[in-house]
Symmetry: C2
Subunit: 206 residues, 2 copies
């Protein structure tokens, strides 16, 4: 079984690269599917699950969700519970035994015994901003400064969650097989060379 | 003209990868050739040039070389002078106009206007230690701790020199097109996939 995990900077195009990689290689693809599975197993609303899991910021103030005010302690406890559930879902994906690509969610750490090909995707700030602007909702009007701050905060949150779950730092280069900078690439053209790279690595390490 | 620059962690196998890459692609290869050229243009002994340029530690004590004690100020001045000469040599290499691979020496920064393919090579600590042990002189008896300290110091020196020469941090992932972890690879097998990656990138960016 071959597993490719993708960690990425916000706005780098890592998700698109992962999806296309799975398509090209004929691998299963897991991204929001994981949220859906956590939602099902926990009996909680998928939006709530996503909101809670993606709150990488470990916020330190109460939140209102669904009209109810939740205390910090409640939110943190709920979040940790959901991270545990998410870990189980990711382990179950691996137990299916089929080749797959998994986006984010520290799957590289959770599935380390399966020797996944660990890919990290980054890009230059300017390129990430362009990508974010192209995908932003029409009602989103962030200045460049605000957008850069938002991107940094999301990445910082990802780093914080990883730190909580594992001993290796998010983005630490020797924790991945390959770190790809998508700047200057049409992602479609990048896919076959990354696929060839991963295939060779699997051939060497199986 | 296609230029591939290789920055690397000490012990990662970056030099071997670079040499083999040049052989496979039929590119010129520059490594110690740069030292020889600086030696020739400066009229200084090649060993002295190498010693001074590779003294990334920016040492703060006098050194004895060739039986003569040199003051700190002398060594620093001499080093900066040689860095300037080295920069000229690297620019001359590019002016030749032939495809080439250049190892280290901040060629990626010096030649940025030529849009080189910038490769960073890293490896896990254990793998780097093995590589260093395999290549060590017979009379070198470093403990694991001493070897790790030596590797870190050399990398720190490289980072310091880069910091002195450019605005981007050494090893900063978005300053390179690709960061490859050589752990788990036979370097020979890694060469064709990196070559294919670089070729695709050039095709996209020419």
């Amino acid at each position: 079984m071959r597993i490719i995990t993708i960690s990425r900077e916000f706005g780098s195009g890592g998700r698109e690269l992962g999806k296309r990689l799975a398509d090209l290689l004929g691998f299963d693809y897991y991204d929001s599917e994981i949220i859906a599975a956590v939602s099902e197993s926990s009996g909680l609303d998928a939006n709530y699950v996503q909101h809670t899991l993606d709150n990488h910021g470990w916020q330190e103030f109460p939140v209102t969700f669904g009209g109810t005010m939740h205390s910090v302690a409640y939110v943190q406890a709920s979040r940790i519970e959901l991270l545990v559930q998410q870990k189980k879902v990711i382990e179950q994906i691996a137990e299916i035994g089929k080749n797959c690509v998994i986006i984010g969610r520290n799957a590289d750490v959770i599935l380390k015994d399966y020797k996944p090909f660990k890919l990290f995707v980054c890009a230059e700030t300017e390129a990430k901003m362009q990508r974010c602007r192209a995908r932003a909702r029409e009602d989103e009007h962030l200045s460049d400064k605000q957008l850069i701050r938002k991107m940094k905060e999301i990445d910082k949150g990802r780093a914080r969650t990883r730190d909580f779950l594992s001993g290796t730092a998010w983005g630490q280069r020797d924790a991945y097989q390959l770190t790809v900078n998508t700047s200057g690439w049409d992602i479609k053209k990048l896919v076959p060379v990354v696929a060839a790279f991963a295939n060779s690595w699997f051939a060497e390490n199986e």
